[in-house]
Structure formats: C-alpha cells, structure tokens
C-alpha cells in the first residue's frame, strides 16, 4: 500500500509543529495529534472504525501505570520504582465504590498478574470497568518495564458520528525523527483499517495542542 504522504512533507510538517511549539512555549507539555478526515464512509452503514495501535515512541510520557501484582510482580515493581498493590491491599478496599473510584482516578492504567486479574470483579466490583481502566494482563514471561512502556505507547481511537477523528501520536519534546515515525506508523495503521484505504481519506493534519494544524494530505 503506497503511502500518500511523502517523507519530505512529513518531515516538513513535523518541523513546523515542533517549531511552533518552540517559538511559543506553553506551561505544559503539548501533545501532538494526528487528525484524520474521512470521505466515502457512512457511519450508519460501514463497519465501525476503531481500534488500538502500538506506536514506536511513547506519546504520553507522564502516563502513570499501577501494577496489581502477585508476590513476584510486586517484588519486581518495588525494585523498579513502579507503583503497585497486592491482593491484600485490594481486599482492604472492601469493594467500597468510593475507594475504588479514587484508585481508578489516581492512575491512568493498570496491569494485573494472571491470578489477580481473574479476581478483579470479586475484589473490586465494576469500579475499574466503569472508569475504563480495567487492568491489562501482565504475564510472567515478559519484562514489567517493557510491558508498561508498551501500554504507554498504545493509542486508542474511535470514529464517532462525525467523519473526523483525532489521536495523540506524540509530544513537542520528541525529536523530529521520533515524531515522524510515530505519525507514519499511525497513518499506515489507520488507513489499513479503512475498507477502501486511501480512497476513504479526505485529509490528514498534525498539530500540537495549542499550535496551528499542518496539512499532510
């Protein structure tokens, strides 16, 4: 599948976005978003356009992940300075909705050991479900740090009723290379999910939170 966004244009727009953020500095770390406008797509008829994709570089570095771990994972978390809770700590919440809600608010995402993840509904009730923060599975074969980086690098997107969608692909402190690669990956993945691929794309822009949109396509 040919990419309709040439390397030159990609790098040009990335440079513009980063320059804009550099010139007018803000008091927070601006996110860089990819905006995709669709055409020849009918949300009433066509298949739902949504999914998740793992980017190469972490777009939201400040994301906080908490590990709900068995003994082994809790030890690993402790050693790596990662926030964690064990089964006992979860039991202490006593399925109290307010406490579970508070826990959900404290972290952006959760990972849980296999033994614990199966008990979440019983230990915590539906609080994490409601907050959209049900834990992902943390296996024993993989590095915890790596898995957390994976979670931080994964972005979700969903087309709702209007034919455009915006997805965070990076931030303004990334190098041009890193940002360009993330944008390229995201574009290719999104386009691969569309029925007619590039024929369903009307426009592509990238912009920083406060900056002007740069047109890629």
């Amino acid at each position: 599948m040919a990419s309709k966004v040439s390397r030159d244009i990609l790098y040009e727009c990335v440079a513009e976005v980063l320059k804009g953020a550099e010139t007018k500095r803000r008091r927070f770390l601006e996110t860089v978003e990819l905006q995709i406008g669709l055409k020849n797509y009918d949300p009433q008829k066509d298949k739902r356009f949504s999914g998740t994709v793992k980017l190469k570089y972490i777009p939201r570095p400040k994301m906080q992940v908490c590990v709900l771990g068995d003994q082994q994972h809790c030890d690993e978390a402790k050693a790596n300075d990662i926030p964690f809770m064990d089964a006992e700590a979860l039991k202490k919440l006593n399925k109290n909705k307010k406490l579970v809600k508070k826990l959900a608010k404290k972290y952006d995402a959760f990972l849980a050991s296999e033994s614990l993840i199966k008990q979440i509904p019983r230990l915590l009730g539906p609080g994490l479900n409601k907050a959209g923060k049900f834990p992902g599975l943390l296996g024993h074969g993989e590095s915890m740090v790596q898995k957390i980086d994976e979670v931080k690098a994964t972005i979700k997107f969903q087309m709702k009723k209007v034919l455009c969608l915006s997805v965070a692909v990076g931030h303004v402190k990334m190098s041009p290379d890193e940002l360009a690669q993330n944008v390229h990956l995201a574009i290719n993945f999104l386009v691969s999910l569309l029925k007619k691929h590039w024929q369903n794309v009307r426009s592509l822009h990238i912009k920083s939170s406060m900056g002007a949109a740069q047109r890629l396509y």
């Binding site: 356009f49 993840i117 959209g132 834990p135």
Partner: protein
C-alpha cells in the same frame, strides 16, 4: 535518519489482494467449493443488509437493511428463498438487531437505534408490541439486542450516553415491561450482547472499551451478576458462545480490527488469538488489510467455524470458512458466486445452509451438505475462482 521499517512495502505501489496459492492447491485445501443455491435482492434501490436472523424451525429469515427496513423471507424446500414481506417494519432510525425467539418461530424482535424494541408476529406481519425503555433519564440509543434461552428476558445494549454511562437494558418478554439495567460494567459503546445458548441466566456483553463481561442474571445486583471479565485490550465488534470438545463454555470475539480471540469462560484463560494477518494467511489470501471477518458459527456437532472474506474487488473474490481445531484455523469451505462484502450471516445447523447478506443488499443461500450433488466440479470451481491471477511473491501482508 529513517529506520528500516519506514522503507517498508507501504512505500511501493499497492498490491491487489489475491489468493496466496494456486487454484489446484485451493481446491485441495478448501474441499468444498459451493455455488449459491438461491439468491434474492432485498431491494432495487441501493441498500445494505446489515442484520440477519433465522427462525428456530429454519423456515424464515429476517433481514435488517441500512434503509431502516425489516424484511421477511421464507426458506423453501431445497433452500430456495422467497420473499414474504418487503416492509415488515419501517423505522425512523437505523436497525440495530434482529432476533427470532428461540422456541417460537413466529415471534420476531427488532431493535432500533433510537431505543425501541419491536415485537412482530410474522404470520400476520403485525407489530404486536413495542418494548419501551422507561429507565431514568433520556432514552438510550441502542446498539444490539438478544433474548435468553427460554424467551423470557430481552436484553438491549446501548451506546455510551452523554452522561458517560452505557447500559444493558432488560425487559420481561411476557409481562412486556422494563425490568431494570446494568450500567457500571462498561465505559464505552456496548457493541454486542449474546445470551448463552442453553443456560437462560448467562449472557455476555462486549464493548468498544475492550471488555467482555459475562453475567448471571439470576443474581440480584449488577455487582453480584458480573461473573467474569475479559480484557481484550482493543474494541470488540461481536461475540459468540461455543463449547470445547469436553463441553466447557468458550466465548469468541471478533475485534474491530478483524482479529479473533477465544476464551475459556470458567478458567478465564485466553485459549487462542488470531490476528488479521494470521486469519488472512489461513484463508490463503495475500492482503491482511483487506481481510473482512464476518463472524463465527457453530457446526452443531461441537466445533465452530469462522466466516471471512476480502474487501478487495467489493468482496467478490473470496468468501471462505475456517474450521477451529485445537488452537488452529484450518481451511474449510469456499463459497463461489459471492457478489458482495458480507456483513451478516446465519448458519442452519440442521440442513447446513449458510445464508449471508451484505453491502449489495443481496441475500444468498449456500448449501454446504456434501452428498456429492451440491459440489461443483473442477471446472465449476475454477470458474468461481476466476480472478486476476496476480500472484504476488512479495508475501508481505500489512
């Protein structure tokens, strides 16, 4: 500088989707090459068939169209489709689910996006009743519906509402009233609800939030009803119930990115995971980005199959099934004469008919039973497999 992965196949010219092996090999792998036994068009006007249901006696088919119309067809002797009603129902908003009762072949349910579930008696084509959502707050926009094994409880799922809540609404089918709802178990649009085929208390819900919840509705509160929760970690499009060879419950799901996941319900273990690249490979196609997974069906003998095709060439080139067998997907059947991108299907386990509808508004019936007479010969197979034989040796699906 750009790393190797950016110099990938996507920079080169597009490669059309095609079979990944020759005709002869395809015939050997997909041992049944089936031509349609019957086909009918839902309408002369452009429309898509998005929902399909069959009655428990397998005699009737109901189809929900994108034109907001509900149609009824008869399946006659020999698998011939005949129209019974082109406008059984006409609605203001889109159809979101169509379902016959499990024990009564004459009762049909249809739910619409604006939050109504209609009950029809197909003998008289009468709209018998409209189940009203009398829950607190605004009427919930619906996404799917299902009825439990003993036809006593109806469940409809909703989109995420402005309040940030998404709902599972329950109705008493006989008393015809609203029973209550679950509203804490999902955080985004609920895409599908499916009751267990034999246990009237068990059902599963799936959502864009990546979760599949399994509930026992005999419990008093939502908290207690929630039995299991599977985090697929990506938006789920549809789910289905299966049984493994020992009779254990399995739940499969198709994601919005055309992956298939399978879970053992009681142990909560992931049994198998096939991403769209693997499914494409099993289908013997080259382009994963054109893969269209329609859904799964039970054979009726303890195993199940996946129905999938390609979006390439408007779906005409490929419609096949893959049999699930011990963590692998094996080539099963190939359906010739398909003219559209298939969006919904039903499988008649008794007569082994596959009935599908899709983006050209056609309803097609294939007879899968191998008594020799249904199969097309080698010539027929190659005719139905006629396509641009662009066999790319650059086997790099996206």
């Amino acid at each position: 500088m750009f790393e190797v992965d950016l110099q990938s196949s996507d920079e080169e010219s597009p490669v059309p989707d095609a079979n990944s092996c020759g005709d002869q090999e395809l015939i050997q792998l997909f041992q049944q090459q089936i031509s349609p036994a019957s086909e009918t068009a839902a309408s002369l006007k452009r429309t898509c068939g998005l929902h399909i249901a069959q009655s428990c006696d397998y005699d009737k088919i109901a189809v929900g169209l994108s034109r907001c119309e509900l149609q009824l067809f008869q399946v006659r002797e020999g698998g011939q489709l005949a129209v019974e009603s082109r406008t059984l129902g006409r609605y203001e908003s889109g159809i979101r689910g169509v379902r016959f009762f499990n024990g009564d072949p004459n009762s049909l349910l249809c739910c619409t996006q604006d939050g109504s579930v209609f009950l029809y008696d197909v003998r008289t084509s009468d709209k018998v009743f409209r189940y009203e959502d009398t829950s607190e707050g605004a009427k919930k926009t619906m996404t799917s519906c299902d009825i439990n094994q003993n036809d006593r409880v109806l469940c409809a799922s909703s989109e995420v509402q402005k309040t940030g809540d998404s709902f599972l609404l329950f109705f008493d089918v006989r008393e015809r009233n609203y029973l209550g709802c679950y509203w804490e178990c999902h955080s985004d649009d609920i895409t599908h609800v499916r009751f267990h085929p034999t246990n009237p208390d068990l059902f599963a819900s799936a959502s864009v939030d990546g979760l599949i919840n399994v509930f026992d509705i005999s419990k008093v509160t939502e908290d207690d009803a929630m039995q299991y929760c599977f985090n697929v970690e990506t938006a789920v499009d549809s789910i289905n119930w299966h049984a493994d060879p020992t009779g254990r419950d399995l739940v499969s799901c198709v994601t919005t990115t055309n992956d298939l996941h399978l879970y053992d319900v009681e142990s909560q273990d992931s049994v198998a995971l096939f991403d769209r690249a693997q499914i494409t490979k099993s289908l013997r196609r080259t382009s994963a980005i054109d893969c269209n997974v329609v859904g799964t069906h039970n054979y009726g003998n303890g195993s199940f199959f996946v129905l999938a095709g390609s979006n390439f060439n408007r779906g005409k080139d490929c419609l096949r099934t893959l049999r699930y067998d011990n963590k692998t997907l094996l080539p099963d059947r190939s359906f010739g004469g398909n003219k559209q991108i298939v969006r919904a299907s039903v499988y008649n386990e008794k007569d082994q008919y596959l009935i599908a509808t899709g983006e050209c508004g056609l309803i097609t019936l294939w007879k899968c039973r191998t008594d020799g007479s249904e199969q097309t010969g080698v010539n027929g197979a190659s005719k139905s497999l006629k396509q641009k034989l662009h066999v790319s040796h650059r086997a790099k699906p996206y």
